[in-house]
């Protein structure tokens, strides 16, 4: 056995050398932080590090569940996550089905480009654009003025935060989200459509009975992945849309962890919050994966 292994190394050593930087990267930036999550069960001290800090069991989780802030932050996160899954998620599917109906390729390309562009802007920029759009002399209030409505500072108004979060998510990423679905659609055998047309099936029926069913497994996989990130609303996004006036509805787990952990230095407590978030995500994926295995054959594993 040993001689085979050494023979292998003699021939294939460059492959192993090539992989070393990547392996180091994965260990340092992914697996050490993952293992470092144990500090949620410890009282982390900077001098003792991940390993030597003393164990405290579920102390931080108990504090967390009794914290009045936490309940509010958690329900904000839950609600926005729910909106993301139910309202934001289906939009790219619909868009892809619609774009697919356009046969003129120049027009199709133009539409796709216009819908892709916002994806490439940072949330700082999107926040900047939205604050400008919704400012007192901005376009939103000018349009309201045409209908004789009173101007509102929508970005500073709690009631508007959730709708703006949802619309901003759609605006930025729904167009780009179609790329995956368009790829799946383009892989469909054209003969299916030809025979459907011979049978006299209308465009709408073709969508219902051919395109959509074939797209469904892709939709399901992406939905499951989204469920795992259900409480992961995007730190950049929320941070850049938030104002002190919208804290009561817009403060989420990510911004809460940033405040308590990074700014106030309660490392173990904030890690407990983060771990709580990851565990809920994992339970959600696991449950829904079981469900989708039962309902259909699809699923992540």
């Amino acid at each position: 056995m040993k001689s085979i292994a050494s023979h292998q190394m003699k021939l294939y050593w460059p492959l192993y050398v090539m992989a070393i930087p990547g392996i180091i990267f994965l260990i340092v930036f992914k697996f050490i932080p993952l293992a470092g999550a144990v500090i949620a069960f410890k009282d982390y001290s900077v001098f003792q590090g991940f390993i030597d800090s003393p164990w405290v069991g579920f102390k931080h989780f108990e504090t967390l569940l009794q914290h009045p802030d936490f309940l509010n932050v958690f329900s904000n996160t839950l609600l926005l996550g729910l909106f993301k899954l139910t309202i934001v998620f289906p939009v790219p599917v619909l868009l892809a089905l619609m774009i697919n109906e356009i046969r003129k390729s120049a027009l199709k390309k133009g539409i796709q480009t216009a819908l892709y562009i916002p994806h490439f802007l940072s949330w700082v920029i999107v926040g900047g654009i939205l604050f400008d759009f919704f400012s007192l002399s901005g376009m939103f209030n000018i349009i309201l003025g045409w209908f004789g409505a009173e101007p509102v500072l929508a970005m500073q108004e709690s009631a508007y935060f959730r709708p703006i979060y949802v619309l901003a998510s759609i605006w930025k990423d729904a167009g780009w989200g179609t790329v995956v679905y368009m790829a799946a659609i383009s892989a469909i055998d054209p003969q299916l459509y030809e025979s459907a047309m011979i049978d006299g099936a209308s465009r709408i029926r073709q969508i219902r009975h051919i395109t959509f069913p074939i797209l469904l497994p892709t939709v399901l996989v992406l939905f499951l992945l989204d469920i795992g990130n259900f409480l992961d609303l995007g730190f950049d996004q929320v941070y850049n849309l938030l104002t002190p006036m919208t804290y009561n509805v817009g403060d989420i787990l990510d911004t809460y962890v940033f405040r308590t952990g990074i700014q106030q230095g309660q490392y173990s407590f904030a890690t407990a919050v983060g771990l709580f978030q990851s565990v809920i995500g994992f339970i959600m994926v696991y449950t829904f994966n079981k469900l989708s295995n039962k309902v259909s054959d699809g699923g992540l594993w």
């Binding site: 292998q8 294939y12 460059p14 492959l15 192993y16 090539m18 992989a19 930087p21 990547g22 990267f25 994965l26 930036f29 992914k30 932080p33 993952l34 293992a35 470092g36 999550a37 500090i39 982390y44 590090g49 774009i99 109906e101 356009i102 027009l107 133009g110 539409i111 216009a114 562009i117 916002p118 490439f120 802007l121 940072s122 700082v124 900047g128 654009i129 939205l130 604050f131 400008d132 759009f133 400012s135 002399s137 901005g138 376009m139 000018i142 995956v180 368009m182 790829a183 799946a184 892989a187 709408i204 941070y239 850049n240 952990g261 990074i262 490392y267 890690t271 983060g274 978030q277 994992f282």
Partner: protein
């Protein structure tokens, strides 16, 4: 292909709807551009919607005269360029062995990559680890944490897997090693996937906000997004260089608008060159990955 009247109406309605949506998607962007090119008084009188009113370049002149903005701009430009090159190199070096069946560690590493993709470490231990290796208040934090992305790694590995074995075997018989194989044959044939991943990495590097927010205190190392954020949220920063004369033809709002567009320009310039590649590349990753 004979389309009935109903079909034509159906396609017409969908086309119309999509054109409308594309226009609506561009409205916020266009209105910010118009604001940046309008005068202070036109903006204050609520005149500016989709077209600049009392056209002036004064806001732009003010913005391009701000040395602190250019400093951040060039810092971000260099971290983006260096980071993208390093990321492509790193990803290719890792993806190549992973695409080879004779690489014994392959399946274990692939499993680790998938685990790393599904289980995101909580941000605090990540912060402590990165700080622990000396990247706190270090401009390298704008580059190093971004040079390998598991998702991009899988895209590149999938792409490499499709190369024919015959070509490689022929090259090996000529005495060509794995390193030469990768750099002389495989990478030159992978332009589409390299361009796609360059775009993906480049956008992340250019747009990064959370890493500098977490790790950088020294204002000298503030990248563009942090600078823009200061300009957007803090009027005293954006007006810092304004003269106190009353004849200003700009205000906080027109300046903010110009700053926002300033940061978008490079993306818009690069986009058309890469567009033809990225859809194709994204498809490779999504269909098979």
């Amino acid at each position: 292909m004979l389309a009935s009247r109903g079909e034509k109406v159906f396609v017409g309605v969908i086309t119309g709807l999509l054109i409308l949506l594309s226009v609506v998607a561009l409205v916020p962007l266009v209105s910010v551009i118009s604001t940046s090119l309008s005068s202070k008084s036109a903006v204050d009188m609520n005149l500016v919607t989709l077209w600049p009113k009392q056209f002036t370049l004064d806001s732009w002149k003010y913005i391009v005269d701000r040395p602190d903005l250019w400093k951040s701009f060039f810092l971000t430009l260099s971290t983006t360029v260096i980071g993208t090159v390093l990321a492509l190199l790193m990803t290719a070096l890792f993806a190549y062995p992973l695409s080879k069946p004779e690489f014994r560690w392959g399946s274990v590493i692939m499993m680790a990559v998938v685990v790393a993709m599904i289980f995101k470490a909580p941000i605090i231990p990540y912060f402590l680890t990165v700080r622990g290796i000396g990247l706190y208040d270090n401009p390298l934090v704008l580059v190093i944490p971004h040079i390998l992305n598991p998702f991009n790694l899988i895209i590149m590995r999938t792409f490499f897997k499709q190369f024919s074995k015959e070509l490689e075997e022929a090259a090996f018989l000529e005495g060509c090693g794995y390193f030469r194989m990768l750099f002389q044959f495989v990478l030159p044939l992978s332009k589409a996937v390299l361009a796609t991943l360059a775009l993906f990495y480049g956008v992340v590097l250019w747009n990064q906000f959370q890493h500098p927010l977490l790790f950088l205190q020294d204002t000298n190392w503030f990248p563009l997004q942090i600078k823009i954020r200061q300009f957007i949220t803090d009027d005293s920063v954006i007006m810092a260089g304004a003269s106190s004369t009353m004849s200003l033809n700009y205000n906080e709002r027109t300046l903010r608008a110009a700053t926002v567009i300033f940061a978008i320009v490079p993306i818009v310039v690069v986009y058309p060159f890469l567009q033809k590649y990225f859809v194709k590349g994204a498809m490779i990753g999504s269909v098979k990955g």
